[in-house]
Symmetry: C2
Subunit: 373 residues, 2 copies
Amino acid sequence: MSNEFRVTYLLTCGPNEDAATKAADLALEQTVELPRTCLTPEVAREVAGSVEAVEPLGDGRWRAVVAYRETTVGDDVLQFVNLLFGNISLQGGIRVTDAEVPPRVRDRCGGPRYGIRGIRELCGIVDRRPLLCVATKPLGLAPGELADVCHAFAAGGIDIVKDDHGLADQEMAPFAARVRRCQAAVEAANARSGGTALYFPHISASGADLGARLELARSLGCKGVLLSPLLLGLDTVREVAATSGLAILAHPALAGAFFARSHGIAPDVLLGRLFRLVGSDGVIYPNVGGRFPFTRATCDAINARLREPWGEIRPAFPVPAGGIDIARVPHWIGEYGTDTMFLIGASLYAHRDLQRATERLVEAVRERCAPTA
Amino acid sequence: MSNEFRVTYLLTCGPNEDAATKAADLALEQTVELPRTCLTPEVAREVAGSVEAVEPLGDGRWRAVVAYRETTVGDDVLQFVNLLFGNISLQGGIRVTDAEVPPRVRDRCGGPRYGIRGIRELCGIVDRRPLLCVATKPLGLAPGELADVCHAFAAGGIDIVKDDHGLADQEMAPFAARVRRCQAAVEAANARSGGTALYFPHISASGADLGARLELARSLGCKGVLLSPLLLGLDTVREVAATSGLAILAHPALAGAFFARSHGIAPDVLLGRLFRLVGSDGVIYPNVGGRFPFTRATCDAINARLREPWGEIRPAFPVPAGGIDIARVPHWIGEYGTDTMFLIGASLYAHRDLQRATERLVEAVRERCAPTA
């Protein structure tokens, strides 16, 4: 039926578990939270999730598809996530591997306000090369020292300098002082070089503080911010995207809690679909081969979800990170394509002269992407 | 040192992993996010986490204690959670088993505004018996039908009727209509019986919608609300506690993602300490023996964390739920003590006459708690 959406689960069953029962139970748990015997026939038919398929995959694993009514969610993204994994998070052996998004949730969230094209325009890089992003760090530096780091990166030709996500509002670098100095440093570097580097501060606050920090960032000339959707809440990100006018780079803090092999939400669904849904213009994830254990297949799946056609929802930049060596960036461009934003960290900081190291990286990327005659 | 706080981890190491290295790496990952070689001596000393102990527990498991500077967090609860588990969530074999809360975070959050004593006063139950809570459900009923359910529970003598956490703002029971009808039904039952039952609506929205729904609930006479801290974001709960004047019952939706055996945050730390920290007056968790796999030891640990002395932070009600049989409530009172709120669901709904079944439950609880002569 057209007013249903489907969620696909990988079920892992213990020796005493029956996959069909497990699927039927979760379809009730995530909607009516009552045994079927306590329901009126109408609620059982119109509200409870409906199991459409339970197929064996071998080794006690099953693929189950459950159809849910769009009316059980309305236009509320938190209720959508709640229905996806709220209560069953507390059980075991259930992994969400695919999830259609109800049209009303999709339309209310609206996805990226900039998306790949919009971010390219902000950065003035519309040609076919990937974008380069760095984090200003470490926590512990004073605002002026962080600003010096920003200046070196911007002068070296980086596209986006973001705050490290551990930078909040600590006394060593209070939010207001840090953002003022870092934004000014990037603007000064741009003025000298003719570049268009952007600075995205990290915002880790809700309610009144969130509004005040967004307003300050905007008033200082920032075009975007770094947010951690699982710390702030996905609905907060939705609201920032809808109301702030700022581009959003999303950080995966806490996301790994959902990535157990047999229980959770698949990384491409959480980081690729849900983060994009609520308005992330770019989504940071730990690249294969760095200091986090994502596989190549996981990275490819995230990239695909972020870029795939999805009605009027704009595609978002995949932002592989977490230990990308500058020497390997040309390699990864070949693997992931040019509609990628590479977030480089420690391998730049290993160099004494940050600006020179950045220049060499930018040069290597330009060379790799130059049109061949 | 007095300006440090300690986090304890259970590390599970693979055959090629060294526990001391793993502890040292996570202490950097969660603070400066750079290798030690990229740090100035001052930042390495003053900002990076400092490993204080790594002790073998056998079977490749280790207990590690890391001391962090309070200045790396400031008063920001999201940065505190970020430091606890943000980036390392994306690794494996790291479980947070204990975490001191920096005093500035504790003081800014402030904990429960009502706590066990305040909720007892709201309910008019200051004598030594546990509180009884039920959920109005299922999703799919119209506001008037949900209100009838509320009325039956309130007339039967229940203390708190909360929305099922799947009730958001769906067209079958829009938020405003539902809250108006349910609150009125509970008030009508109270007026007839002389009772003091309370109705707590579920609020699943951020930003402008959150404020509007809180205001509506308050204006209709509700004294508390149901919130899902991991959906809304912990800082949103902090703000509701600080500004709304409403009591907060916290739901564990999504929490199970953190409860893998060897990776995540221990349930007593997440539900017991962090949920209490941000202002939950009661915390719902899945009781042992129900339809979720918590052990008795986990339940005891959550109960202890919610009630333990903690400076000026008030104790919060443990709210065991998830398949508590009405017949077993007297048993659980003996096990968990009277400073408990029991959330009863399906085993009440299995009865045709909700009011009568509730009356019998309340009677059994009173009898169990009557002073013996």
